[in-house]
Structure formats: structure tokens, C-alpha cells
Subunit: 323 residues, 5 copies
């Protein structure tokens, strides 16, 4: 689906609706450009775009099928960039990935969204409000999108952070329930997120430092800034991964401790029950000469002994922390 | 076994059957070439091929004995490439590897299949339908094969993915059966797959970026694309490896939990049985003066006490989740 | 908040209070410079500083929002450096991070503190006492701050070290209490500290070895020295990380051992109690012909047997280390 | 001990016994050379060799004391290479390492064997049968030896492989015996093997690709081939290491499971024994009014009840897999 | 403390005692030099040395405070090298580190020892016995010291090796005692040793291969040799680290096994005791019609049954390996 198709002249959007064909011919000045936004285009829809801007066959295939890793390719005079967006769906504790594919060339930028990718409407609105930025051409739009995508990693990270803190608190709480499943699933999400974000570093690095002729040199510092944010995201994700590995192990320790506590509690009760049973056994013996059996107060005395023994056992178990 | 032997002129297969000898002499134009396909050739069979195309002794030895790691070697004016194919045999949960060895030189390509390697019949049919591709010479065939091999990693990955998800579900299910063996074996397969796929990256990189004179420069971007797919496969496999390591640990936690549950269940029943035994012991004592023994309803009363005690213990264990 | 604003001429602080505006105009000689110190400035406060010294928009944004990773950026003729300070809050066993951001350009240095960052008052006082250093210009101040920040990692490291030693002693003590939580939390702090300190290495390296024109070449060796200290901090933190991973595992072993000891203790008592119960059971049988039952000393004899059996069991358990 | 000392002229061994002294003077043509083979030489034996060929003092020391890591050094115009041989002693499950040290210079090759190193007799015989190879000079011999050494890693690998498979089968067998010791020892061997084989890669790489003037350029491809085999060995060893780490963990899971099974079996029997004890306790009470006690068939009836209760418990435990 | 101060002319020590001041003026020839040895000098002591040889302020500070990581710095025309010595204190199982700091410049070498560092007396004596070496100037001394330091890593390694083997034997012995603490502490020592030795590689590499003008090119090969030994030490330490990690895990398995054995032993005894208790319970019932009770041999028969039952249980537990 073609979502939007605009022509920017001297940083300002030209009024009116524009037809795809012959768009490029209408671009006169160096920094004027066309921005076409698509959402999960059909091969047919994309075909006309590809023909109009002379996009490379391989990139076109990637753009339609998506499921790429973040990367940047240079085809002749076109730059092809793949970005992964991330959103944290809190109630499922799942990182939901989307994909934005971008083509940049002389006088045009084509953006293709797939899946749950961030909508670019807001990016367009924000950047249209800054004509002086738009004058830098498509590279400014590329930066605006990359910046937005990486900025939106932040709330996803925070979602993860909260859930990791929660799982830590659970594992180290008194109850020490088994949280292996939750920890494992959070780790899986962290690994997936890392796989989506980390490979973007290399394209950002290249855009920031090397000579990609399609990128206005003045915009380069801005990509370095994006890369910086990306680094922070990656650092954070890697430390989440390490922490979750440790929590999984700590979880095992906590379970072991709880198991031991259960065992001691059980054993304490068994020991308490064993005492009257033993005493009763003794006075159940059939010896002819057991003087206590003849005492009038023998029975209540023995019951008292039993109670006292059990009580003092209970007290000492309590004091030792077994009960 | 020589499976096929074809001459391509200007992108089109020349009709008729061709004899191995003097094949090269019949190649006139720059992009015309011979494609010889072999399957587990005997040394004798391969000898004539090697002589005809002047293949290097070391590569010939590798081609006959197979069991190479993926690699690319340049011998004078011949390129020698080793690829590993992978197939997931679902009912055995095993990655089955095959091997394809390829020689490319001026005017020829020789392909040798070993083991369960993907058949190249389909690749040949597909590429013969695209004469404009075939015009790029043997490099186009090389790309078609590499592309197919890497594409076929995908279903193998998916097979693994399904089994990993299954094992995750089992480990975190109520029953929490011990899945250490299955997890371990999946990990072994992942490691084996990784060992087969990862080293291919370096040759693809070289074919994509550096000057391998035997490769038509226009085909280079296509190898970069293959490399990209390979990267995704590798990323995926590495995260499988990490996940399986974590699942193995989580499996231990789950076992610990189940073990604890069993222990608590057993202990609860033992405690329930200990109560009537203790009471019975008390009334089995032989004191002369135990008034209860003389009561008419003493016996049914004690039985009732026993039942009530057991019942309330049972209820409280049930409530605590021990039973 | 603007904390201080001073002009240094020939290594000496010029008397009097200075207004922000037109400060640079008053700098005449090459090594004279202005040092402006800010603490969590509002955007408005920082705006005038940024305008006066022509600071780059991206760096300004970073300086106000903080939460950067340590890094160095070159914007035209300004150097922008981010440092993380670390302080160990012993009673909470937490590393508290702060942030210092520094701009250096021709004739000026601007320092911005955020959070719990080390106060720079002392640095200023110390360096003002060394006019010959101040003559090297802003680079000398930059070094003084970096040196102080890295020096203050040392007490934080020592705090960690103490707590790690303490946790080791606890884990390997007789009581072998479960220390999983404390170990885990120390590890989290170590990872966080590492993330704050390690990335600083690259800027220090660049300041020490490469041509950052804003840095007086004579000051370079001093940055190498800072980098060296940083390396030591990083080595130490990495080995803490490894050790804590091992302690967590050792903790599990110790728990297992203690659990086993508890189990053996319990079992020993159960075994001791089982013996008189069994003997009493035997003499509680109702056979007509049990000669012992008729003996006058039967009962005391059996009691003695019971005591002796229990006593010798107790002794042998004691000797085996079960009790 | 000097094992052999031969002069090769134009690829053919010159007849007769040769004296060490003045050997080099008798070499006339470029590709003629002397090959001296030693086995654990005494310092005196080696001294004369070192003097004759002008070997560097440091290399000489290494050659006598052995226990080097694989490496290559260039001393002026002499190449010094250290190789580690590996043999798997199956009944001890131990990798036995040997060492071969090689000096190559203009017109000579000196080989020194230490410990259980592969005998070079066969290598000498094989290469003497290929005069066209020997014409390439000492480099051909160097290749023949390196090739042999790396080829002999293969059976060692296979020995390890078999034992690892065996240990896997044991760990995952019904009996699930504790195999921690065996796994650990195999891992130790794998690490030792890896330490012996891996560092050889760098010298092979250098021999294959860079300009070591003592190596005939035509022989270079052959070293690349050796390096390739070495890579495979290393890949294999690294995956053994990873697998053994996982097996060790899986072993723990299996032990946990078996422990749980034992516990359940024990508990089942205890529960079965507790039932008749409890019933017997009840009928051992001394109430005056217990009608069952007066029944003629009371005793057999109770016995029957006990048997039935035990039997049905046994059956249900059996069905639940506890027995 | 100034330990020794000698002037070497043409490889020979000049007789007599020398005063620190004006020492350098007395050096005439290119390879003549002064060697000053200090041990934990006070700042005052070191000050005069620093002034005499023009040592850089930063290096001087390092030399007095020690606690550096191994490194090499070039200050103008002075080389500053930090070495860590290691000694294994066997009865405490602790690696004791010392530090040697070396300054080399035109015509002088200054060595500073801290802590338990190897004494350099022997090095001095050995090298004074080799005038031809001393002629190479201070670089020869530098090599002699580095060589000695790295050589002395060997006995420390061997001490560790012995203790690791001992701990392995303990862990896998019949008794399988918990060795977590000892393993952990050995690992800590290995990590500390590694941290002291590994960073020395880079300076040795630089001394061996690059142009450090203060180093006589003829001495370079010797540093490569030291580096080689260092590599071996590092390889060894890294494999110790890996092995200790595995032993710690194996220790857990062994503990689990022993715990299980304890549990089975206990359970077996409990089962053996349960049988006579159960039988006694049956014959303790008060049924009027229990024919066995009236038999004259009833009591001894039951006792025999009990003994036989216990005996056969004992035998079968013995056979199953539970007792």
C-alpha cells in the first residue's frame, strides 16, 4: 500500500497529490526530493516504484519479503538500509519486531514498513516542521527515521528492565518461587532484541564516518549520535543477558534453599511425632513387672511427659529456624 | 558418476550429448562454458575431468574424499569452493550434512556432490530458464548453487526451531519431565550445523567484495546477498545455541522443583499416617488406670478422632499445595 | 546552575567576577582560557553558554539530558567528552554513578556535572595551585578532571573488594548460609560499574596517542597514564565478575553440602528413635510364651538395652560426623 | 641420537653413509640438501649439528629442552618450526603429545623428535619415493612432516569422538551412572590437544601466504592445505569442548532424576510398610469394648485387609512409575 | 634503598664504589652503562636518581607507588617497563606477586623492586659472567631480568598444577568431599596470576618486533623468546581456569552422588528397621483368636522370621550397592 508520496522543494512539501510516474523528472534542484512511503506493498505495487527509481533487483526482493537483518547495501548510486523496530508488549513479555526498509538515491527516498514497525507518520510530520533540516535532502529523512527507531528501543528496554527487576524480586523474595520459565523467556526476548539491534551499528558507523556519497556530510555527525544511542542499547541488552544468566543460577540456589527448608520442616514434625510413639511403645510392652503400669497417676504422668517432650522439641526446632 | 555434461553458448544449452574430451576446445566465446556435474565420482572418473580442465592435485584430492570444511581456494586460474548442505531429518532430530565441491575456471564449471547434498538438477533447470543470467558465465551458476544451498538452510533452521520450541514447552509444562537428553542432542546438532555453515561466510565475503578475477563483477552483489542470508542463519544458530544452554539449566531448575513437590507429597502422606499410629500407640499402653479404655464408646471415639485428625491434616496439606 | 566561571591568564586566575557574555573576546593569549562549571543546568542556563562558545546542538542536547555512555566526540573545533563517576555506597552495596560532561575549544572549557558526580571544586583548587600546569590550557584541566574521576574509581573498587571478600567468607564459613542474593547484587553492580568505566578507555587512548589538535602534545603522556589506571580498574572489575560467577556456583555446592548435613542429622535421630520403638514393639507382642516377660528384671533390662543401643548409635553417628 | 643423515641430489638420495662435518660443503646445486634426523639428542650431539649449520643459540636451546608450544621463528636465514604430535592412548583415555622441531636453511633440514612423537622413518620413505617432490628442496620435506603430523591428529580425534559418544550414551542410559569424572578427564584431554594443535595455525598460515624466502613458492599451496586440515581439527576440538561442557551439565540433570527416582522408590516402600503398622497399632489398643477383637475371623480378616491395602498401594505406585 | 650501583665498561664491571651524582658523565663509550638497583626506595632516595637520569615525572610516581599492571611506556628517550613477579606459596596455596620497574635510557638502566619480587642479585651475577652479552648495553640486562621473571613463573605454575591435580583427585575420590572452597580459591589465584602475566605480552612483542631505538636490534630475538615462554604460561593458566570451572561443576555432581548414596544408605536401614516393627505390631494386636500367640514356639519363630527378613533385606541392599 502506498501510504504517502510527497515532493519536497527547498525543504517545503509541494502542495497537491503526485502521481508516481515521472516524479523524478519534476525534481529540479539538487536538494529537492521525493519521499514515497509504503506499507507491506504487493510485488505489483512495488514494481512501479522500483522501475521509476531504478532500484536493484536484489534490494527489491528484500523489500517485499522483509525478514532481513539490519544492514546497509550500496547498489551503484542507491543506498539500501534495513532497520528493525522493537516494541515491548508488556502483558505477554514479548519483544515485537517490525522492519523498515529504506532506499535513498539522487532526489528520492523510498520507505517500506513491514509488520509492527513504527509508523512513520509522526516522523514525517516532525521533519516537515523543520524545513532547514529537510534542505539537506533525503539523508535528513534517513536520519530522522533511524533516530526515531533507535529512540523507540528505549521504552522497550525499560519494559524489559521492569520485568527483570520484578523477576529478581520474586526470585529473592521469602517465598522463592521457581521463576525459571519467566527468566528463560525474558532471556530469549533479550537475545532476539540484541539480534535486531546490534547489527545496525555497522551501517550507522559507515554513515557517520565513511564516504557514502549519497549522505550530505553535514548530516554525518547526526548518525554518530544515533550510533551512540545504539551502543547504549546494546550495552544494556548485553548486561541484561548476563544478569538473566546469573538470575537463572540464583533461582536454582533459592530453590535448593527452599527445598531444604521444606525438608527440615517435615523432618521436625516427624521427629516430634516419633517421641510419643516411642514412649507409647515402651508402655505397651507386656512385661509382668512394670511398676509404672500399676500407678494410679501413671497414665496422666506419661501423657504429660509426652506433651512436655513434644513441646520442648517444638520450641528448640522453632529456635533453630526449622519450623 | 557423471550426472550431466552441458555446453552453454550465449546463455543457451547446446543440444546433444557431449564427450568429456576436447570439450574446452569447442568453447569459442568469452562467456560460453561447460558445466559438468558429478556425484561421488570414483578417482578414475574424476581423473579424466581433472586432466581436461587442469585442476590442481590438492583440490582433486579434496573433491574425491570430501569431508572438507567450507572454504575457497584459488589455484592459479581455478577457483575451488566447498559448500556444506544441510537437511533436517525431523523424526531423528538430526541435521544431515552433504557436500558440494565446485571448480570454476576459464570456460568451465565442475560440480561434485557428496552424501546427502542437495541435488543440483533443479538449480540447472531454473538457471537454464534464465539465459540472460547464464550469459554471465560460470559465476552465475556458482551463485545459483550457493544461493540454493543457503536457501535450503532455512527449512533445516525451521525444523530445529520447532523442536526447540517443543522442548521448551515440555520443560516448562506441569509435568516437567527431564529433557536433558533431547536438549543436549539438539545442541549437538546446532553446533554441527554452525560448523557447517559459518565458515562459508569468508568465501562469500571474498566473492562479493574482492577481486576474484574468475567472477564477473556484475555477479558480485549477488554473492553479498547470499552472504547476508548466511549471516542470518548464523545469527539464528548462535541464538539457538545460547537458548539451548539456558534451557538445559532451566531443565535442572524444573527437575529440582518437581523433586521437591514429590518429596512434599510423600512427606504429607507419611505425616497423615503417623497420627493414627501415634494415637493407637497411646491406647496400646498397658496402664492399669486408663479410664478411656473402660468407656463403651472409647473405641469408636478414638477412631473418629483419628479420622478427623487425618482429614484436617489432609485438608491443610491440600490448601498449602503439598498434595 | 552556574557554579563557577573563571578566566585564567598565564596560568593564574584573573580576579573578580566575570559575566558570561563576551568572555571569549577578553581572551588574548594562546594559553589563556575560560573555565565555566555548571551543575545540572536548565536548558535556558545552558543555552547562553552554548551560544557564547558555539557548541554543537547534538552535544548540547547530551549535556542537558545526560545518561550518556563515556565517549569523546569532535565537533569542528570543539571536543566533547563524557565521563562517568562512580561512588560505592557501602551500606546499600550499590555503585552510584554520576556524569561529567566537558566541552573544550579554543580558549575555553565548559564542565557540566549531573547526579552524584564528584564535585570539581577540589580539582579546581588543586590545579589553580599549579600555574605551570594551567599554562598548558584547557587540556590540563581536562586531564585533572579525568585523573580525579578515575582515581575515585579506586575507593569504589575497594568497597566492592571488601564486600566480595566478605561474601566469600560467608559462603565458605561453617554455617554456609545462602548468599545467592548478595552475590547476584554485587555482580549486578560490577557489571554496571564496568559499563560505566570501560568505554572511557577509547577516548583516553585517542587523547594519549592521536592528534586531537585541541590537546597540547605535552599533556598527552598524562592521558596515557590515566588510561593505564583505567585499564587496571577494568582488569579488576572483570576479575570480580568472573569470581562472582564462581562464588555463585560455589554457593550452590555449599548449600548442597549443608542440605546433606541436615538430612544426615535428621536421619541419624530418626534411626536412634527407631531402635527403642522396634524393641518396644517386640515386647508388646501378645505371645503366651515369652519368657522375658515373666522376668522380674525384664523391664529394666530392656530399658537398659534400649539406652545402650541408642547410646552406641549416637556415638557412632557422632564419630562418622553425622551428628 | 642421530637417527639418519642423508644427502639428496636432484631429488635422489646419495648412496653411502655421510659424516656430519663438512656436509654443507658437499652441496653444489640449489635444490640439493642434507636431511639430518635426531631423536632426543644430548646437548653434545646437538652441538656439532648446530655448529655445522649455524643454528641460532635460542632455537638450539628450545630443540634440546623441548616443551615448546607450536611456533615458527625466523633467525636470519634459518626457519625454526615446532610441531606437536598427538596420539590417543585409548585404554587410558589420554592424549599423548610428542614434539618435532625442525630447522630449515639453505641446503639443509634438521629434524629433532622428542617424546612420543611420530617416527619420521615413514615420512622419509614416502617422500624418497617421490623425487619430483624432493627437488623442491627442504620445504618439501617440511611439508611432508607437517602433513603427516596433522594427518595423525585424525585418529586421535576419532578416539576422542568414540569415547565422547560412549560417555553420552552412558549418561543418557537408563542407569544414568555418574560420569562426571570421565567427562572431566575427556575435557582435560580436549583442552590439552587444542593447546597443542591450535597455535600451529599461525605458522602454517605464514608458510602458505607470506614470503618466507626459505620456502619454494610452489610448495605454498600445500601448506594451505595442511592449514585447512588443521582448521578442521580445531573446529572439531572446540565443538568437543562445548559438548563436554553440556554433557557435564546434563549429567547433573540425569543424576538429579535418578536421585528422585530412588527417593520415590524408597518412599513408596515406606508408605506400603506404614499401612499394616498403622492397622496393627489400632488393633493393639487396649479398649475393653472393641467388638472386632472378639470375632473368630477378626485376625485373618485384618491380615487380609493389610494385604489388600499393601497390594493396591503397590499397584498404584507401579502405575505411577514410582516402583 | 639503593641496593647496588655499578658501571659497566665494555661488558666488564668497573671496580670500586660509585657515587650517584655525575655518574652519566663518566660514561664514554656507546655500550658502556650504569646499572642502579633499588628496593622500595623512599621518594627522597628515588628523587636523586630521577634527577640524575632525567626520568619522567609520571614514571617516577609509578615507580614509587608500584601496584601497576605490566606495561611499557616510552618517554622521550627513556623506556619504562613494569614487570610482575610471581611466587607460589604452597602451604597457603597463594600466588604472591611482586613488582619490578625498569628504566632504560642512553647509558643507564635503573631497576626498582617492590614487595616479594625476585631478587636481582643472581641476575646481576649471571650476566656479569657474560661480558659479551653485557656489551649489548642495558637492553641485555633488561632481557636478563625479563627472562628470569618469566622463568620463575614456571615453578609457580607447577605449584598450581600440583594443587589442581590434588584437588581433582580429591573430588573424584571415593569420599568425594566438598572441595568448592579450595577450587574457588585456586581459581582466584589463577585469575590473579593471569592478570599479572598476560599484559606483559604486548611489551615483549613490541621489544621483539618493533623499533624501540633503545634496544640493540641483536637482542630482539631474545625478547621474542621470552614472549614465547610467556605465551606458554598464559596458555597454561587459561586452561587451568577452564579446568577449575569444570572441576567446580564436577564437584557439584560428585556431591549430588554422595548425597544420594547417603540417602539410600539411610533409607535402607530405615526399611530394615520397619520390618520387625511391622511384624511386632501385628502380633501385638489384641484379637482373641490369634492361634500363633498360643504356640509354644511362636515367639522364637517370629523372632527368627524377623531376623531372616532383616538379613535378606540387608543382603539385597548390599547387592544393589545401597549399603
Amino acid at each position: 500500500m502506498i501510504v504517502d508520496c510527497a515532493v519536497y522543494e527547498d525543504g517545503v512539501r509541494r502542495q497537491g497529490h503526485h502521481d508516481l510516474e515521472h516524479l523524478l523528472e519534476r525534481i529540479d534542484n539538487e536538494h529537492d526530493f521525493v519521499w514515497i512511503g509504503l506499507h507491506e506493498p504487493t510485488p505489483e505495487e512495488f514494481d512501479s516504484v522500483a522501475r521509476e527509481f531504478g532500484l536493484h533487483e536484489l534490494a527489491v526482493e528484500d523489500a517485499i519479503h522483509a525478514h532481513q537483518r539490519p544492514k546497509m547495501e550500496l547498489y551503484d548510486d542507491t543506498v539500501f538500509l534495513v532497520l528493525k523496530t522493537a516494541r515491548y508488549v508488556d502483558h505477554e513479555e514479548v519483544i515485537e519486531l517490525g522492519e523498515i526498509l529504506i532506499f535513498i538515491g539522487e532526489g528520492f527516498i523510498v520507505t517500506v514498513r513491514h509488520g509492527q514497525a513504527t509508523e512513520l507518520k509522526d516522523v514525517r510530520r516532525d521533519i516537515e516542521a523543520q524545513p532547514e533540516l529537510l534542505k539537506h535532502g533525503p539523508a535528513a529523512v534517513l536520519h530522522a527515521i533511524a533516530d526515531r527507531v533507535v529512540d523507540e528501543y528505549q521504552p522497550a528496554l525499560e519494559g524489559l528492565d521492569e520485568d527483570i527487576t520484578e523477576v529478581e524480586n520474586e526470585v529473592f523474595s521469602e517465598a522463592a518461587p521457581n521463576r525459571a520459565e519467566r527468566i528463560y523467556k525474558l532471556k530469549r526476548e533479550v537475545l532476539q532484541f540484541l539480534r535486531a539491534a546490534a547489527p545496525l551499528g555497522e551501517p550507522m558507523e559507515r554513515l557517520a564516518t565513511r564516504d557514502v556519497p549519497q549522505i550530505d556530510p553535514e548530516v554525518r555527525n547526526y548518525f554518530r549520535d544515533v550510533n551512540d544511542h545504539l551502543h547504549r542499547v546494546q550495552d544494556q541488552l548485553e548486561s541484561y543477558r548476563d544478569l538473566l544468566t546469573s538470575v537463572l543460577e540464583a533461582n536454582l540456589s533459592q530453590l535448593g534453599v527452599r527445598q531444604n527448608e521444606d525438608m527440615r520442616k517435615i523432618s521436625a514434625w516427624v521427629a516430634i511425632a516419633a517421641v510419643p510413639t516411642m514412649i507409647a511403645g515402651i508402655y505397651g510392652m507386656n512385661f509382668d513387672h512394670m511398676p509404672e503400669l500399676g500407678w494410679t497417676l501413671g497414665y496422666p504422668a506419661v501423657l504429660t511427659v509426652m506433651l512436655v517432650a513434644c513441646g520442648s522439641l517444638y520450641r528448640s526446632f522453632k529456635r533453630a529456624g526449622w519450623l
